[in-house]
Amino acid sequence: MSEPVARSPIEPAPPVLVVDGWEVSGRRAQAGLTLTDCTPLAKLQVRAPIGGRAAAELAVPFGRAVRDPGGTLTAGSGPGEWLLLAAPGRGPVLAARMDDLAARCPGELVTATDVTHGRALVRLTGPPAAGVLAKVCGIDITEPITPDGAAFRTAVAAVATDVIRDDTGGVPSYLLHCERSSGAYLFGELLAAGGEFGIEIDGFTTEGT
C-alpha cells in the first residue's frame, strides 16, 4: 500500500509538490493579484454558548479575526461559532487546546470539530482583490464595513463562504473558506472574476499562513 497523500478538491496547478503530506501546486506567481489554494491548513470549528465563559476566553467577537503569536488565526465566524486556522497538521494540537477550554468551562457545551478535510480554503491577495470580490459577492468590501480583520459569512458565487480579511504586509488579502465539494467551483469562479485584473495562481507554502 502506498503512503497516504492528502488532496485538496482544487486540482493543483503544475508543478505539483507534496508539502506536509498534501499535494500542492509549486507554482510561483509574479502578478499583483494571486489566488492560492490553502486547503492544507488545519481548520477547526469551535462551538460554545453565546456570551458564555468559553466565548470570553476565546476573546474574538463574532465578525472579527485575530492572529495569535503562534500564528493561529481565530475568526468569530458565527454567533457562538469560531473558525481556527493554523499550519498543516496542527489540528490535534488545537483540538487539545479546545478540550482544555471545555474543561475550564463546566456546564458549557464547548465542542471542536476538525474540518480540515471538510472545507476548502483559498487566499486572494493583491490590491484589486476587492474588485474581484465585488463580482462574486454582494457585501460592501470597503474599509468602514469590512476592514482588515473582518470575518463574515455570505454568498460568494452562490456558495456559502466564510470570508476573512487578512491583509499581508499592507496588501489586501482575503481568505475564503467553503464546504469542500464546492471548492473547485469556487476557485474557478474566483479565477474567472480575476481575469480582467490579471490574476495568477500562486502555489501553497507553509510560510506566512
Binding site: S2, G118, K135, P144, A157, A158, E179, S181
Partner: protein
Amino acid sequence: MSGQTSAMRLPPQPGEVINRGEPVEFTWNGRPVRGYAGDTIVSALAAAGERVFSRSMKYHRPRGLLSASFHDPGCMVQVGDEPNVRGAHRLAADGIVVTSQNTWPSLRLDAKAVNGLAGRFLTAGFYYKTFMRPRFAWPAYESVLRRFVNAGTVSPGTAHLRPEKRHAHPDVLIAGGGPAGMAAAISAARAGASVLLVEEEHALGGHLRWGSEADLAVLAELTGLVAAEPGIEVLTDAVALGRYDGNALAILERRHGGAETERLIRARAKTLVVAPGLIERPYVFAGNDLPGVMLSTAVRRLINLYAVKPGQRAVVLTANPDGDAAVADLKRVGVEVVRVEDARLGGDIVAATGRAGVRAVQVADGTSIACDLLVTAVGWTAPTSLLNASGDRPVYSPQAARYFPDAARLPENVLVTGGIAGDGSVEELTGHAAAVGAEAARRAARTAAAWIAATPTARPAAGTGAEESVRPIPELPVDAHPELFAGRTNGFVDFSEDVSAKDLRAAVAEGFRGAELAKRFTTATMGPLQGKLETVNTVAVVAAATGATIAETGTTTWRPPYVPVTLAALAGRAFEPVRYSPMQPWHDAHGAVPLVAGAWIRPDRYGDAAAEAANVREHVGIIDVTPIGKLDLRGPDVPKLLNLLYVNKWSKLEIGRVRYGVMCAEDGVVLDDGVTGRLGEEHYLMSTTSSGAATIWEWAENWLQTEHPDWRVHVTPVTTAYASMNVAGPQARRLIERVTKDVDLSNEAFPYMHVRTGQIAGVDDCVLWRIGFTGELSYELHVPAGYGLHVWQTLLDQGADLGIHAFGVEAQRILRLEKGHFIVGQDTDGLTRGFSAGLDWAIKLDKDDFVGKPELAWQAAEGSGPRLVGLQPVDPSVVPEEASLIMEGGSIVGRITSSRMSPTLHRSICLAQVEARLAGPGTEVTVRLPDGRLIAATVMPQHAHVDPDGGRMRV
C-alpha cells in the same frame, strides 16, 4: 446610395462628437457606408443621405428619424446576429453588418405596405372580432399573423454569452449625467460621499452637448469638476434599469472593454438622486410618422453632435425655447426655414403629406408648404420610471403640460433634481442639483452610520460629531407651456405599434374607458419604446375621448426595466455551483456516465449497471456515496433531538451501535431517512439522504433554535469532511481486513448495525459502518476527504483478486430495490404519511412527542392512506415502467413507484403504492403499461424481493 459619406455632412460643428480623422465603414443592407468614429449607425446613414430605416409594424409605412436617440421607433435595425439594435444610439463601427428589419423584398419596395390600403378595416383590436369561425381555422389565420411580426431575427448559432456582473455600494447614485446630475455629483462628492454617476448617452452633459456655445462652456466646466473629484465614478452609455426594494438599482453598462457587450451592475445606493432630464414628446397629426418629421431635439443632435444636415427646407412647430433654438440651429447650418408655426401664438400643424418622406405640410391657416423637414417642439415627458418604483405617483400639471414627481410620496432615500423637478436657467438647475447632492450625501452618511453600527465586521465610526443639519433645497420655477398632444387630424400615437388617435378613441367608444383598458385593447405603449414617447399622448387622447381631464385619467405605470436589456446581461455568469466528490478524478478516468443530482455530479454507471449489480451479489463492489448527508452531533441532549426528529426510539442506543431512522414532517409525511451511529458518550454521526442533507441540517437547527434553545446540542455538517464509500458483497470483509488496522472485523466483534473507528489504508480517523442498503455484507467507510482518492484506489488495488468493480448509482438502485428499501421522494411522495410507507414497525406512538406524531396517531387509528408494497408481475419478463398505474376497472388504485429487472432473480420486481385494501400478500392487481396493455401482478408478503430474512447482510 453608394459608399459616399458626404451628402448631408456639415462642416465641423463646435460640439461635434465625430472624429473626422477616423473613418469607419460598415454595410447597410449589403451596401457599404462610410462614417466617422463617434457616429451612430443612423447618423452615418443620414449623413449619406438615407432617410428611411425601417417599416412600421402593421401598415409597413416607411419610417425615419424621429428622436435621433436610443428611444427612436423608426431606427431599429439588425446588426449581425443581434436583433432590434437602436440604430440612432449604437455607434457605427468598422465591419458591422447592418440590415433593416421587417422588410420584404426590400426596405424601399415593401410588399406588405398594401396593408396600409386596408387600414380602415384593420382598426385596433380587429382581430378580436373575426377569425373565430370556423373554430378549426384559427391556426391558419394565426400562422399568417405571425408572419407580420415586426422585429429582427435570432440566430441559433449565437454563442452562450456570460458577461460578468459586479456589485457596487455607492453612497449616492445619480441617475442622469446632464447638468443637474453632474452638479449633484460634484456637490455630493465634496460632502464626502462616494458617487456613482450614470449617464445614458455616450458622454456626460445632457442637453448641453447639443446646445449653444454658452452651453458648451458650462459643459466643459462641469466635466472638469467631475473629473477632478476622485469620489465620483462615471459610467456613460449606462442606464439605471430599475429601482428595487432596499434602494437596489440595476445599472446596465452597454459598452464594456471597448465592445458592445452589455453587463449589469447591482448597486445598493444609500441615496438615489433621480435626474434623468426630460424626453421630448411627439405631436399627433396626420402624417406625423413620415420620414422627415422630427423632434426639435433630433435636429439639434444631428446638427450639433454629428454634423448632419437634417433636411433642405424646413417647417418648424415650436411651443418652447428648445424649438426656437432648433430654428436657430437650422438657419445657422443653411437649412431653409420656410415657416415657423409658434404654438404660443396659435400656430399649429394640420397634416404632413408625402410617400417616402415629407413633401408638404399643411399649417394652421390652411396653407400647404412644400418642405422635406418638419420639426416639432411641443413639450416634454418626465421619465418617472425610477420614481414609480419608489412608490411615487407623479402628478400632472396643466400649466406646465407635463407630470411632476409628488414630493410627499418620495421615500427618504430618493431625491429628484433637474428637468424632472422643474424648469429654470442652467444656473438655477445646477444650484438646485448642488443642494440635492449635498442633502443626498447627508442622508447617505446617516444611513452609513446606522449600517456600520449594525455590522459586527465594521470599524466603529470615528467620533462623528453632531449630525449635519438638513440641507434646504430650493424650489425650481415651473415654466408655462401650452398643452399640445393631439392636433386636429388623426395621427399616430404609438409609432412602434401603429396605433392612431382614432384607434384610441374607438377603443373608448367600445367601452375601454380608461388609460389601462384602452392601452391593453389597442396595445398602445406596449412596444419596444415602452411608452416613453407615447404614454402621455395616450392618456391625453383617452382623457379627451372620455371627457375627463388628464389628471383624472391618470397615467400608466412605467414598469422596469427602464430600457430593454439583453438576457445575457441579466443572466451574467449565472452562478450554478457544482459539487464533486474527492474520487471524481477516478470516475472521470474510468468512463463514468455522469448523473446530475442537484448540485452534485455523480457516476450513474461505468458500464453495464446490471453487471455491476451482479458483481456485488457475487464478489464485491465499491460505490462512491460521498453525497450522503452527514451531521456530526455533540452534546448531552442529542438523544432528545433524535427522539424528536425520528419516529422511532433513540434513548438506548449504545456506543458503537448504529440504527436506521425515519423522519416525518408535522403533517406526518415522510421527510427523510438514514442511519445514526453513536461514536462516543456525547458524540453521534447522523446520515441523511443526499438530497436531504441541507434540509435536515436546517430542520434540526430550526427545532433547536426556535423550540428548544435550552437543549445542549451542536450540529455540524460534515457531509464532505468525509469521502464516503460503500464496499459491498460476499468478499467485503476479506477486502476490508486487508486495509484496516486495529479493528476486529469478525462478525462477533463487529456485527451488523455497528460502528467502529480506525485506520484504513494508512489513514487515521476513519469511520466504518456495518450497514446494508444493498442487502449484502457491506461496510460504509467514511474517510477524511483529502485521503478519499487514496483509500478508494487502495481498495480497488487490494481487491483486484477478489473481483472488485466500482458500481454506480444505477446499480445501487437495482440492489436496493431487490432488497426492498424505499427511496424517499420516489417510493414516497408529498402525501405519503409514515404508515403508508410501511413504517408500522418503526413508528413509536408511545413516545411523548416527536415531529408529526398527532397525524401519525390519527392515521394509525383510521388506517387511512395507501400502502407501499413489494410487487411482482406475473409475467417475469415484463418490467412495467415506473409510474405505470394500477387499475381497478376504470379507476386508478395505485402506481408502480420503482421497477427493474432483477439480475439476481432474473425477473421483474417492483415497489408500488396501492390502496390499503389491496395491500394484502398474494393480492393480484392489474397494472396498466404506458402502451395501454394490462398485465397482472402479485402483491408480495414484504418489500424485499431478495433475501427477505437479511441473512446475507449478517454473515
